[in-house]
Symmetry: C3
Subunit: 343 residues, 3 copies
C-alpha cells in the first residue's frame, strides 16, 4: 500500500509540514470520509466547518490559522497540490499494449509501440495511432485519421475520417469528432446539404468530456488549440477555433466560424452566435448568450450578453419596477392634487 | 391477441366501469387512432374536444361528466392507470438469457443467472452483472463495475471502472456513467488535470435517458438516489448528489458538488451552479439558473433564479417600462409647466 | 485530379463567368487558404476584406462590384453554388457493399442490394435496410426497425426496435432513435414508469446531428417530417411532430407532444414546452423558451418567449431602469420643494 509521512509529502509537493511531520498518510479522502491515516483538503470556504470537524489525520490547506493543533500540509495552491497527491496515491492503470483480438485494425493503419486497441474497436485505413495511446473498447477511428501519442480514448469515441487528435489528449466516452457541420443552402424552402469536406484538428493536451460533438469544417478546419479543456455535452460547430488553454464548461454551444482567443472561459450552458470573436481571457458566465464580439478580458452575462456588472445591476433593477411604478403613481396623484388645489 | 372486457379492466386497475361493461377492448391507442375495439385516455384538458370526438370504444377518464353515453373506465388518476393498461397490452420483450458469441466477457466477471449480454458488449475484469439483467449490444462495463439485478442497459451504455448501478435501473442508449469530473488546477494559465479517482453510484430504480453523462467524483462518489428519473442529455457533474424520487428533465446541467434533496424537480434546460443545496421538493422551472441554495418546497425561475412568483411578476413588469417612461415624461412636462406657471 | 475551367464551372452551376473564363480551377478552398488554382467564396459581409485580400484565383460571389479585375463566378445564391462545387471537387466516398465479417446481421433481416454494414454493427430480427444504405461501424438497428434506401448511418447510431428511418436520411454518430419517452405516473411521491410502446418515424431526406435523441411515443409515433435538418445534441421528446423542411439548431429541446409546423426554425439552445403548436414558418431565436402556441410566421424571443420586436425593446429598456429611477427621484424632490414652497 502506498504510504508517505507528512514530511515526505511536503517535500514531494513543495509544501510546508505543520505539526507531526512523521504522521503516516496512507490515502487521500474527502473531508467527511477521512480517518487519522488519511489526508484531506480544504479549498472552498463553504466547507470550513466540515474541515474543522473532519477526522482526517492531515489537512491540506492554504492557511494554517483556522486549524490550530492539527497536522497540516500548507501550500498556497492546495487544489493544485491535491492533483499531485491523487497522482501519488492513485497511479493510473493502463490496459495491456496491443490490439484485442476482436478489434478491427486495417492493414494499412500504423499503430505505435505500446498502444492498446480495445475490444471491438475499429481502426480505419491509413490511420495513425501514436505510441502508448489507449483506444478504448468500441471506439471508431475513421480512414486517414491521426491520434497522437499518449492519448486516452475512452470507450465509444468516434474520430471521423481525416481528423487529427494530438498528443496526450483525453477523449471521454461518446465524443464525436468530425461530424458534418450544419450547413444547408435553402432554395425555395428546401434545404440542400452543403458538403462538409474540412476536418477537425484537436491539438495536444486537450481534454473533451463525454458526448462532446465537434463538427468538421465546411472547408479547412475546426480547431481546438492546445491545453484547452472541454466539459461534457458541449457543441462545437464547423470552422470554430477555440484558442489555447481555454475552459468550456458543460453544455456550452459555440456556433459556426466563431473564434475564441486563448484562456477564454465559457461557463455552463452558455452559448455564442456564429462568426464572432471572443477576445483572449474573455469570460462568459453561465447561461449567457454572446451575440457580439467581446474585447480581451471581458466578463459578459445575460442574453444578449452584456458586461457582467451592467447585467447584474439590470437584473437587480428588474425587481424594482413595481416599486418605481408605485412612486410614479404617487407622483401623479400628488400632481393632480396640486393642480386641483390650484384650480 | 390480448383482450379484456371493460369490466375486467376496471377490476384489474381498481377503476369504475361506466356504460357497457362487456365492451371488449383489444388494445390501447391514442385518441386520434383509436377505434371501437380500443381504449384511449383523456388526461390533459387541451385534448377535451379530441377526446369527445374520438372513435375509441372506451375512454379512460377521471370524470365521466363530459362524456355522456360513452363507455368509460373512470379512475381518479388516469395517467397512472394508463401505465397499467400499457403493461397489460404490451408485455415487455426480453432478449434470450446468456452472452452473445460476439460479446467479450472477462473470465473474472460474474454474470447472474438469466442475464443477457448483447452482441459486441464488453464486460470487464471482476465485474458483476445481476440476475436477469439485460446488457444491450455494444455496451461497455468497465473493470470492477457492478450492475444490479433486473436492470436494463440499452445499446451503447458505458459504465466506467468501479461504478455501481442498482437493481431495476433502466439506462438508455449512449449513457456514460463515470466519465472524469471537470477538475483542473490552473497554474500560470495552464490547466493541470486533477485526477478523478472517485466513483458513481446509481441506486435502485433509477432511469437515465439517452446520452446522459454522470461524472465520477474527484474522491468519494457522485450519487443518484433511488427512484430518481433523469431525461435525455442531462449533465450531472462530479460529487453531485441527487436525492430520492427526483425528476431531472432533458438537458439539465447540475454543477459539481451540488446536492439535491428528495422529490426535487428540475425542468428542461435548467441548471444549478456548484456547491449548492436544493431543498426537498424544490422545483426549478424550465431554463432557470440556480445560483444559491433553495429552501424546501421552493419554486424558482429565471437566471439568477428567484421565487417563481417574483420572477413572473418581474417578467410582466419588464414589458411595462416603456409605459412607465411615458408617464415619467408626462410628469416632468407637467411639473415644468407648473413651475413656469409659477415663474 | 479534378479540374475545371471557370467557364465549365459557370456552365455546370448556372452562374456567370467574369474575367478569364479559361482560368483552371483545381479545388475549393477557404478565403485564407486559397491560391491561384483554387476557387473560394464570399457569402458573409463580415469577410469582405478577407475576400478582397484572398489569393484565390477565382471568387464565387453574388455581386462583382467589390472585386474589380478579379476572375469571378457570379451567382445570386453563392452559398447554394458552394454546395454544388464541393460535390464536384469532393465526391463522397462509399464503403464497399456487403456486411463486414464482424457485423451481426440477423438471418431474418433484409438487407438491400449495395448496402454496406460496418464492422461490429448489429442488425436485429426482421429489420429492413434499404438499397445502397451505409450502416457505419458499431451501429445497432433493433428488431423490426426499418432504414430506407440511400441512407447514411455514421458510426454508433442506435435505431431502437420498430422505429423507421426514411430514404436518403443522414444520421450522425451517437444518434439515438427510439429511446423511451420521459413518462411517469407519480403516486405518493413515487414515479411509476408509463411504458412507452409507440415508435419514431423519421421521414425521407432528414439529417440528424451527432448525439441527437428522439424519444419513441407513449402510443402512436414521434415524427420528423421530410426534409427537416436537426443539428447536434438536440432533444426531441415523445409524441413530438416536427413538420417538413424545418431547421432545429444545436442543443434545442422540444418537450412532449409539441407539434411544429413546416419550415419552422428553432435556433441554438432554444426550447419549447409540451403540448404546444408552433405555426408554419415560426422562428424561435437562440436560447428562447416557448411557453405558448405561436402563430404562423411568428418570430419569438426570450423566456417566456414573446414577439421578437417586443423582446428586443424590453431588453434595451431593462438597462434604462436606473436612469428612470433617477428621473423619478428628481420629480419627487421637485414636487417636495414645490410643496414646501407652497407651505
Amino acid at each position: 500500500m502506498t504510504s508517505f509521512t507528512l514530511a515526505e509529502l511536503a517535500s514531494r509537493v513543495g509544501g510546508q509540514a505543520v505539526g507531526d511531520a512523521t504522521h503516516r498518510v496512507e490515502g487521500v479522502r474527502a473531508l467527511e470520509d477521512a480517518e487519522s491515516e488519511h489526508i484531506s483538503f480544504y479549498t472552498n470556504r463553504r466547507y470550513l466547518k466540515l474541515a474543522q470537524e473532519s477526522r482526517a489525520g492531515v489537512l491540506l490547506v492554504a492557511d494554517a490559522a483556522p486549524f490550530p493543533g492539527r497536522d497540516l500540509l500548507v501550500h498556497a495552491d492546495p487544489y493544485a497540490v491535491l492533483g499531485q497527491l491523487l497522482e501519488l496515491y492513485f497511479p493510473s492503470l493502463r490496459p495491456p499494449a496491443g490490439a484485442h483480438p476482436s478489434a478491427i485494425v486495417a492493414d494499412s493503419a500504423r499503430v505505435g509501440e505500446g498502444a492498446s486497441i480495445g475490444a471491438c474497436a475499429v481502426i480505419g485505413e491509413r490511420c495513425e495511432v501514436g505510441e502508448r495511446t489507449v483506444v478504448g473498447p468500441g471506439c471508431v477511428v475513421g480512414d486517414d485519421a491521426v491520434v497522437g501519442p499518449d492519448a486516452l480514448l475512452h470507450p465509444h469515441v468516434v474520430v471521423e475520417a481525416r481528423c487529427r487528435v494530438g498528443a496526450r489528449c483525453i477523449l471521454h466516452s461518446g465524443v464525436v469528432i468530425g461530424s458534418d457541420g450544419f450547413g444547408f443552402a435553402t432554395v425555395k424552402g428546401v434545404h440542400a446539404k452543403v458538403p462538409q469536406v474540412g476536418i477537425v484538428v484537436v491539438e495536444d493536451d486537450v481534454e473533451l468530456g463525454a458526448n462532446v460533438c465537434v463538427d468538421r469544417a465546411t472547408l479547412g478546419e475546426t480547431r481546438i488549440c492546445r491545453g484547452t479543456k472541454v466539459d461534457n455535452l458541449v457543441q462545437i460547430a464547423h470552422n470554430v477555433k477555440v484558442g489555447e488553454h481555454s475552459l468550456i464548461v458543460a453544455q456550452v454551444g459555440i456556433s459556426g466560424s466563431t473564434r475564441l482567443g486563448h484562456h477564454v472561459v465559457m461557463a455552463g450552458q452558455s452559448g455564442a452566435a456564429g462568426h464572432l470573436h471572443l477576445g483572449d481571457g474573455s469570460v462568459v458566465t453561465a447561461q449567457a448568450g454572446v451575440m457580439a464580439d467581446t474585447p480581451p478580458g471581458a466578463w459578459v452575462s445575460g442574453m444578449p450578453a452584456r458586461p457582467q456588472r451592467e447585467w447584474l445591476r439590470a437584473m437587480a433593477n428588474l425587481f424594482t419596477i413595481e416599486e418605481l411604478r408605485k412612486r410614479v403613481k404617487a407622483l401623479e396623484a400628488a400632481l393632480k392634487r396640486g393642480q386641483s388645489n390650484h384650480d
